[in-house]
Amino acid sequence: MSPNVSEAFARIRDTALARWRQTFESPNPVILVGTATCGRAAGAIETAAAFRQALTEAGRTDIPIIEVGCMGHCYAEPLVIITKPASGYPPIAYGYVTPEIARILTRDYVLGEDPSLEFILGALDTNEMIPSLKDLPRFAIETPVLLERCGFIDPENIEHAIARDAYAALVRALEMDPPAVIAEIGRAGLRGRGGAGFPTAQKWEICRKAPGEPKYFICNADEGDPGAFMDRSILESDPHSVIEGMIIGAYAVGARYGYIYVRAEYPLAVERVKKALTQSRALGLIGEHILGSDFSFDIKVFEGSGAFVCGEETALIASIEGRPGLPKHRPPFPAHRGLFGKPTVINNVKTLAFVPRIIAQGAPWFTGIAKGNTTGTAVFALAGKIVNTGLTEVPMGTTLREIIFEIGNGIPKGKAFKAVQIGGPSGGCLPETELDRPVDFESLREAGAMMGSGGMVVLDEDDCMVDVARYFLEFTQGESCGKCTPCRLGTKQMLEILTDITRGEAKMEDLNTLADLAEDIRSASLCNLGKTAPNPVLTTLRYFRGEYEAHIKEKRCPAKKCYHLMAYYILPEKCERSCEACVGTCTVEAIYVGKKRVKVIDQSKCVKCGTCLEACPPQYNAIVKISPLSELPEALPPLEEK
C-alpha cells in the first residue's frame, strides 16, 4: 500500500485538530445542544433557538452553539453541555433545558459566573466542586465504545469526528493486508450485532474468497424492531464511525460499492448520513483512490420504505434491486451471491461501528471488555416503564438486573417490575427470576428470548402479558411478507387465538393449539421473521401461564389492561361530591352526576381511555379499574334536578 496514505491523512487530521482546539480549548464558552430525534421531540430546537437569541441580544454571537447528537440520557432531554474553561469548572451537563432555562443559563453561566447548580445533571469529569456524572452508580457499569463520541461532536462536521480519532483506523487498515484486517476482527471475536450473532470475520472471509466482481458491502440500518433506536441514534450522532467501519470492511473483502440501507422513518438519520458521505467524499476518504491508495470504494444511501422484513438480508437485497422485499432461500448466502448476484456483505450499524475501534485499539482490548464468552459491549435501548429511559452501553455479560435497576434506576411510580421484553418481535419476555442472567447471545436464547437489535422494553404490574404477546403477533402478522405458508397463515391463526383470549372468548385447549402452532411456525418458516415470530408467545406462556389461564377461566385480566375484560369505576364512598374534575376531562362525555352528586361512568359511552383516572385528584383517588366485568357494581341513576 502506498506510503502516502498516512501522510495524506495527517494533513487532514492536523487541520481538523487545529480547528477543534480553537473551539474547545479557547477560554470562551461553548454550548452543545443535543438535537437528535429524541432531543427534538423534547423541544431541543426551541432550546437551541433560545440560546441563540439570548446570545444575540447580549451581542455575543461569537460564542458557538453546536448541535450534537444523543448522549443516551434521553429521560433528561433536552440536554445541554456547557464548556467554559475560563470558569475553572469542567464541562457541565444540564438536563430538561427548556427555552426559559436556556435564557437563565446564558445569563448566569455563559455570560456570568454562576453555574446554576439547580439545573445540572452533572459535570462530565470528576472534580471537587460539583457532582459528576461519573459518580452515578451507572457509570461504574457503563462502558461507552460505540457511544463514546455520541453527544460530544457535531455529527454534521467531519472535522469534529476526525479530531476525536475517526478515520485513523482506516489509515491503519489500509496499511495492512486485507487478510490481516479480517484476522484482527476474527481475533477480536466480533459477532454481528443485528441480532443473530454470526462471526463477522467469517462472513468477510467467505465474501473475500467468493468469485464475482464487483463485490458489494451493505450497512443494514433498517432498524425495524419497535422499541429499538440505537442504530438511529448512532447514525444521527456519529455517522462517521459507521462509514469508517464500512470502508475498512470493503477494503478487507475487496468490495467496490456500498449501500447504507436506512429506514425512511428516520429522516434525520438519512439527512445526517448523506451529509457525512458528502464530507468524507470531499476529503477523499471515500471514492476513487481513497487517500491516494489503490483502493476505491463509494457509498450510496438507500431509503427503505417501511417493511420490517427488509431487515432480513435477502429481503433487503431484493428491496435495493427494486423488488418487493421477499426473502429467498439460503444458501446461497449473500456472501456468495447477493446484490445483483454478486458477493455481498451485509453488516449491522453497530457491528460496523465496532470495526474501526478494534483496528485502532487491537483485538485484545476488545476481548478484554466483556465478562463472559461474547466479546465487546452491547448497546441497549431502555424504554417502557423505566425511570432512566435512553441508551446504555455495557460489557457483554452484564446482568439484566444491573441494566434495569442500576442504570435504568428501576420502575417509576413505585410500581412492581413484571417483565422485560428483549429483542423486539423476535425476542421474548423475561420475568424477575431471569434477571440475574448475564446478557449475551447464548444466554438470552437459552431463556427463550433473543438479543435482537437490543431493544429493551420494561413492563410493570399494569401490563398484561397476553396483551403484549398479542401486540407482537399482530406486528409480525402484519409484516409477514406472505411468501411462505407457515408464517402467513400460522401467525394469523395464532393472532386470532390470542385475540380471543384477550376478549375472554377462548377455551383452555386453545393454549395447546397455540403452542403447537408456535412450534410449527418456528421449524417451517423460510426466514427469521417467521422462525422467531412465536418467541413472544412462547416466553409468556412459559413464564406467565397463570395470566393466560385467568383470561380464559375467569374472564379476568390480572393487569386490568385488556379492553374487553376491564372497566373504569368511580367508588361512591371516595368520590368528593363537589369535585367534577373527571366530568370535565372525559373525552367522550361519559361521566354524569348521579344521586348524592356522586359521579358515575356511563359504561355504554366509556371508551376506557383512562383520562378520568389521571384527572381524579390524588387526595380522593376515587377511580379504579375493575376486572372481570362481572364484579362491576350497578351504576347509580342520574341525579334528578329539582
Binding site: A41, G227, E303, S305, G322, A383, G384, F475
Partner: protein, 174 residues
C-alpha cells in the same frame, strides 16, 4: 406540510414537471424504481396513478410489477394526503404506554380509520411501526413533528390549535 392542498391545475402542472424529471434524470435500471417512487411521494404526498405508470414505462417495468412494489411497502400511499398528517406510533414502548388509546382518540375525533383522509382533506391518519422516540412514548408525529407524551386531551389540544390557526388565516384573508 401543513399547506393547502394543491388545486387540480397545480397538481397537473407539478405532475408534468415530475414526468420530465423522471425521463431526464432517472437511470433506466430496475434499481431506480423505489427511489423514483419515493421522489414522487415526496412531491405529491401520495402516488398519483399517472406518476406510477410513467415511472414504469420509463424503466421498462410492467405496471403490475410497479403496483406490487407500491402495495408491498407500508410507506407508499395511494390516497391524496390531508393538509395535516397524523402518524400514530404503534411501537412497543408506545403500546405499553397506551398507543392504542391515542389512536382511538384520533379516530374518534377525526371520524376516520387509519390509512384514510377526512372528506374535507384536512387530515390524514395512519400508524407507524416505530419512530424510535420510545422514551417519549406514547408518540404521535403531527405534520412531521414528533409529539411526545400524548394523551386523549392532548389530541384535543392539537386539533384546537389547528382550528385556531385556521381561523386566524381565514380572518387574515378576509
Amino acid at each position: 406540510m401543513g399547506g393547502s392542498p394543491p388545486t387540480p391545475g397545480e397538481e397537473r402542472e407539478e405532475l408534468a414537471k415530475f414526468l420530465d424529471h423522471v425521463r431526464a434524470s432517472v437511470a433506466k435500471e430496475r434499481e431506480s424504481l423505489i427511489p423514483a417512487l419515493q421522489e414522487a411521494q415526496r412531491r405529491f404526498g401520495y402516488l398519483p396513478a399517472e406518476a406510477m405508470l410513467a415511472i414504469g414505462e420509463h424503466l421498462g417495468i410492467p405496471d403490475m410489477d410497479v403496483y406490487s412494489v407500491v402495495t408491498f411497502y407500508n410507506q407508499f400511499r395511494l390516497n391524496p394526503p390531508g393538509r395535516h398528517s397524523i402518524r400514530v406510533c404503534m411501537g412497543t414502548a408506545c403500546h405499553v404506554k397506551g398507543g392504542q388509546i391515542i389512536l382511538d382518540a384520533w379516530k374518534r375525533r377525526l371520524g376516520i380509520d387509519r390509512r384514510q383522509t377526512t372528506p374535507d382533506r384536512e387530515y390524514d391518519l395512519d400508524t407507524v411501526a416505530c419512530v424510535g422516540c420510545c422514551t417519549m412514548a406514547p408518540v404521535t408525529v403531527v405534520d412531521g413533528e414528533v409529539q411526545g407524551k400524548m394523551s386523549p386531551t392532548r389530541v384535543d389540544g392539537i386539533l384546537l390549535s389547528h382550528q385556531i390557526q385556521k381561523g386566524k388565516e381565514a380572518r387574515e384573508e378576509a
